[in-house]
């Protein structure tokens, strides 16, 4: 038995966790869009307050959110340096060869960092407060209107569900294959980088074979249980928006409009 959890869902039972996933999904999309509009510090401060409030409500420990930021640290440094060193502007602070540091460049870099940090914290709030299943169901039901223009919404959601289902299976299988290869003398974690990369080949090939076999058998089992795509299918858990969900949606919409609106205030 393995202890793999898919996604980084952190259950606390807060009101944010219980909010309809469609509200959270739409909120996240709008929030990210709004951040692209923001062009002054008032907007970023507003967005930061909004996210801080969400973190407080969700009861998720802030260190989990900062952990997500660590992963984009180098990207931040890179994006910031490009902006600092290569933005042309009137107000030159330092001139050194082709490098010119300007006030405009510094402001742009600060905006860039603020924007990226706020986008990452915002989206990780979505995944921390919803299970992958809720997200998939949210996508299926939230995107339903797109069926009119022939987007295979149901199929996309089913593919996501099965992909999530396959993760523990594949990792168990990989573990088994690695043990089998090690038992026959394979050296998987010694040697140079190329040698280690090459020693992965005899693991990946059987893993692929078993993944195809798994997919084939699962397809048969699904057919045996009358699966035929989206035809005449119902769901046990139907998503219904209650009063709280509508209130949450209204609050999110208002905050997002306020954040984007700062562009025209100053």
């Amino acid at each position: 038995m393995t202890r793999i959890t898919v996604g980084n869902h952190y259950p606390t039972g807060s009101i944010l966790h219980r909010t309809d996933p469609r509200v959270k999904l739409a909120g996240t999309v709008l929030y990210v869009t709004a951040l692209l509009f923001v062009n002054n510090f008032l907007g970023f401060i507003l967005a930061a307050v909004f996210i801080a409030a969400l973190i407080k409500i969700s009861k998720v420990p802030p260190r989990l959110i900062f952990r997500g930021l660590r992963m984009i640290f180098f990207m931040l440094v890179f994006a910031a340096s490009i902006n600092i060193f290569f933005t042309s502007g009137q107000n030159v602070l330092l001139h050194f060869g082709i490098i010119r540091i300007t006030t405009e460049g510094l402001t742009l870099a600060a905006h860039m960092i603020a924007r990226l940090v706020l986008i990452v914290t915002g989206t990780s709030m979505l995944t921390l407060t919803s299970t992958p299943i809720q997200l998939t169901d949210g996508i299926e039901s939230g995107l339903r209107p797109l069926k009119v223009i022939k987007v295979p919404v149901h199929d996309i959601a089913m593919i996501m569900t099965i992909a999530m289902r396959s993760i523990p299976n594949l990792s168990e299988e990989m573990d088994k294959i690695m043990k089998a290869q090690k038992a026959r003398g394979a050296e998987l974690d010694t040697g140079s980088l190329t040698k280690r990369a090459l020693s992965l080949v005899p693991i990946l090939v059987p893993l692929f074979v078993s993944a195809f076999k798994w997919a084939n058998e699962l397809a048969t089992a699904m057919e045996a249980r009358c699966y035929r795509g989206d035809i005449n299918r119902t769901r046990m858990k139907e998503m219904k928006m209650n009063a709280k969900d509508w209130a949450a949606a209204a609050i999110m919409l208002a905050s997002v409009i306020a954040i984007a609106g700062t562009r025209w205030v100053i």
Binding site: M1, T2, R3, I4, V6, P132, I133, T161, I162, M164, R165, P168, N169, E172, K213, W214, E217, L218, T220, A221, M222, E223, A224, R225, C226, Y227, R228, N232, R233, T234, R235, M236, K237, E238
Partner: protein, 286 residues
């Protein structure tokens, strides 16, 4: 429930150099409520026959009727699959969802059952296989026997009249095997037809009818007692018989007067001659 007439099947019918038929001229009739075990070697065609029973495969020649519906008629496919559920060998390869109750609901959802009714059926089916406490668990954290019971619950939620088990215990440990078999036996008591494909003789002994397959044909058909009393024939086929039957057969060959219809350890222990042997009172040829 099932009736076939000259059912034949080959895997590559359009091959110019056709391989031998996987199923040859099978004529069977299985009544509702029966508990049928199908025995046979690997490659004897027993899984192929099982897959015909819910129209996953259709006959190359001949006809199979399920509840009067011809499996070759595409219009009846979904009705047949609803009435004949299937539990496969590998528990990991038949669970679709990442939460137990979602998986149990899958079949009923496909049938378009209303949500409240699905909820009722899921709870009911999980209770029947004794897995209600695990409703919100993740399948990959369960044991093999538990996963198979989830698969059974998933089939039950479709309200079938028959369940086909395709070697459901081959990948399980002894306790998992017991769990799955007793679940199958309990469902049979509730009137559900059970078809159990297996190569464990002890499992077949629980059924009320045994079919033995060899090279795509049914060569023996009868009650477990009738089939397993033909010890020499079963052993010649390389299938063997349940251990108590085999022991009784050996003792009979040695000249003891032991009943030829013994199937279980209890029956063996109840036999008059065995009792005498254990007391040291019996001799060969008496």
């Amino acid at each position: 429930m099932f009736k076939s007439q000259n059912l034949s099947f080959e895997y590559a019918p359009h091959d110019s150099n056709p391989p031998p038929l996987t199923l040859k001229n099978i004529n069977i009739s299985i009544q509702t409520g029966e508990f049928v075990a199908i025995l046979g070697h690997n490659g004897s065609g027993k899984s192929t026959l099982a897959r015909h029973l819910n129209a996953l495969l259709t006959p190359t020649e001949g006809t199979l009727w399920v509840n009067g519906l011809d499996t070759k008629d595409p219009a009846s496919t979904w009705g047949i699959r609803q009435s004949t559920g299937m539990v496969f060998q590998n528990p990991d390869n038949q669970i679709v969802a990442t939460i137990v109750e979602e998986d149990v609901a899958f079949g009923a959802e496909n049938l378009g059952v209303p949500p409240e009714e699905i909820r009722r059926r899921v709870d009911d089916s999980l209770a029947k296989v004794g897995m209600l406490a695990y409703a919100s668990h993740q399948p990959h954290q369960l044991s093999g026997g538990q996963k198979q019971r989830i698969a059974i619950a998933g089939v039950l939620a479709m309200r079938p009249s028959c369940i086909v088990f395709d070697e459901p215990t081959a990948m399980l440990d002894p306790s998992g095997r017991k769990e799955v078999l007793s679940a199958a036996a309990n469902l049979n008591k509730e009137g559900i037809t059970i078809i159990l494909i297996t190569h464990f003789m002890e499992e077949a002994a629980v059924a009320n009818r045994v079919l033995v397959m060899e090279d795509g044909e049914i060569i023996l058909d009868g009650t477990p007692r009738e089939v397993f009393s033909q010890v020499d024939k079963m052993q010649a086929l390389g299938l063997g018989v349940p251990q108590p039957t085999a022991l009784a057969h050996k003792l009979r060959q040695a000249g003891f007067n032991i009943s030829p219809t013994i199937l279980t350890i209890d029956e063996f222990m109840q036999d008059e001659t065995v009792k005498k042997i254990l007391k040291g009172q019996a001799n060969a040829n008496n």
